[in-house]
């Protein structure tokens, strides 16, 4: 529960006072390279390698797993 609080509530509180960005000011944010994962295939290949060579995994969301490599 503490981790939940830290991960969601504190950022919410921190960010709630941020200035608003009007829709017509979102031209930069709309670019593909501004996506959180701009290259999903690169990301999936990397995550698979790290999953098979390290003990930790996950974080970004769903994905990974399903492999006898670890």
């Amino acid at each position: 529960m503490r981790a939940l609080f830290i991960s969601v509530m504190i950022p919410m509180l921190m960010l709630s006072g941020c200035s608003t960005v009007k829709p017509w000011d979102r031209d930069l944010l709309a670019q593909k390279k501004m996506q959180l994962v701009p290259a999903p295939l690169d990301n999936a290949l990397d995550e698979h390698i790290f999953f098979s060579k390290e003990a930790a995994s996950g974080g970004q969301g769903l994905g990974g797993g399903g492999c006898g490599c670890n």
């Binding site: 960010l15 017509w24 031209d27 501004m34 290259a39 930790a56 769903l62 399903g66």
Partner: protein, 462 residues
């Protein structure tokens, strides 16, 4: 000047309309019905003296409507080479079974060849103007491992689409089928006949075990060298004993919640919390542990490894994307912890350096560190009482890993991209631990890893 203003007005209007239609400004690409997007890559992964992997992977996405897509992602792997067995190097030749020896002062490895076929399908659709869902399924098959999984996630925009809250869950059902057909007993010594072959006398799935031609009295040995039984040869050198191909199940449930927030016109930020539970057979059936003499440090035998049947994993993840005047920087941090005693920090940065006309060069760097699992032992002392769980898998040891890479990309047609990527990964651990005994102090007890990764990618819209 007037043209610039008009152009900037046009892009602002486009962005505004995307904002009205899309869930997140970051996802507001120009998807229209009947678009078919192809992303594909060939990857070659080569460890120094160890594993080599050639892989094809793709994501094929069909746009079905506004914000609705269905995508199929196939992956084909071919894996060859050798993987550390868990046994440590020593100053004498080591023997692990028939025709399986490792010279002195050399890391024992097991050679293998495998192929993996995997595919996932994902259907993204909007529920309403502010909410979208993603439903998915995946499957993966190797000759000694299969996995089937389903997943679902939902994301909803708030606060004039400046904030997105998301949540998701997945369930994977895996089956481990050791290549030998036998799931080794955990923490059992190698080279000692357990004479348990009668346990396999009524097989559901009979297989023959090849033994040496002409040998009448023999043993049946698992891939890791464990002698699991014996019998007499009927004729032609084939074992007269039927052994069912054994398997064990493993279930993996994951869930996450996340918050994505537009900070300002140039900055996006995400926070995620993830929770995962793994249950079932989490042991690696191929890994073993060296048993050493408590005084001399010489290896006197080997046992199979055994891990707990449960694992609770948690992650905190933070990522920010910042649009600099021309370039874009992605920076992320992950903290991972589990109930096996592993704590891990990961920092990842990508810098998209714009070269103009759609060309860019992207340096990438990643730092990873982890503590060892509570039950990790580079070796165990012969004669001492065995722990409940033990593994000498280097991936559960304390380690630090650095990955450096660079990607070059050029535009291909209107919406396509051609790219090449090269990365170098280096893992280091504790080669000379404080608890090394005798001859072990002269050996490298951590099999460090160095790997090169090459990738070419092509993406386009049809």
């Amino acid at each position: 000047m007037q043209l610039d203003e008009r152009s900037s007005l046009r892009s602002a209007l486009a962005a505004a309309s995307c904002g009205l239609l899309g869930i997140s400004p970051a996802l507001a690409s120009a998807d229209t019905p009947d678009n078919f997007q192809v992303d594909s890559a060939l990857l070659y992964y080569a460890e120094k003296d160890r594993v080599k992997v050639a892989e094809f992977s793709g994501i094929f996405t069909q746009t079905l409507g506004e914000d609705e897509t269905i995508s199929l992602s196939p992956t084909i792997d071919s894996i060859t080479g050798a993987s550390p067995t868990g046994a440590t190097s020593t100053d004498k030749t080591q023997t692990f079974g028939t025709n399986d020896t490792t010279p002195a002062n050399t890391l024992p490895v097991k050679h293998f060849i495998d192929h993996r076929f995997a595919a996932s399908v994902s259907w993204q659709r909007p529920i309403d103007r502010l909410t979208k869902t993603v439903l998915g399924a995946e499957g993966s098959a190797e000759h000694d491992y299969t996995s089937l999984g389903i997943n679902a996630s939902i994301a909803r925009d708030f606060d004039n689409r400046l904030t997105t809250l998301g949540a998701g869950a997945s369930a994977d059902f895996d089956t481990v089928l050791p290549a030998s057909g036998i799931v080794p007993q955990g923490l059992a010594p190698l080279g000692v006949s357990t004479n348990t072959v009668t346990a396999f006398s009524t097989p559901a799935e009979p297989v023959f075990k090849q033994v040496n031609n002409g040998v009448v009295a023999h043993t049946v040995t698992s891939a890791s060298g464990t002698i699991i039984g014996g019998g007499s040869t009927s004729s032609g050198g084939l074992d007269s004993i039927y052994i069912p191909h054994q398997s064990r199940g493993k279930e993996v449930i994951d869930g996450h919640i996340g918050l994505t927030r537009v900070i300002n016109r140039r900055t996006l930020m995400q926070f995620n919390y993830g929770l995962g539970i793994s249950t079932g057979y989490l042991t690696d059936p191929y890994k073993i542990i060296s048993m050493i003499d408590g005084t001399s440090g010489e290896t006197v035998g080997y046992i199979t490894e055994q891990r707990p049947q449960n694992r609770l994993r948690q992650t905190l993840y933070w990522e920010t994307v910042v649009h600099l005047p021309e370039d874009v920087i992605h920076l992320s941090y992950r903290y991972f912890w589990d109930d096996w005693g592993i704590r891990s920090h990961t920092v990842d940065v990508h810098y998209d350096f714009e070269l103009g006309h759609g060309f860019y060069i992207e340096p990438q760097a990643r730092y990873y560190t982890q503590t060892a699992a509570d039950f990790y032992h580079h070796s165990l002392i012969d004669g001492a009482s065995l722990p409940d769980y033990a593994s000498a898998d280097y991936r559960l040891a304390q380690m630090t890993s650095y990955t450096y890479g660079v990607k070059l990309a050029m535009p291909l047609g209107q919406d396509g991209e051609l790219s090449a990527r090269a990365s170098y990964m280096k893992q280091t651990g504790i080669s000379h631990p404080a608890d090394a005994i005798g001859v072990q102090t002269t050996q490298d007890l951590y099999p460090g890893l160095r790997a090169m990764i090459f990738q070419i990618g092509i993406s386009f819209k049809l």
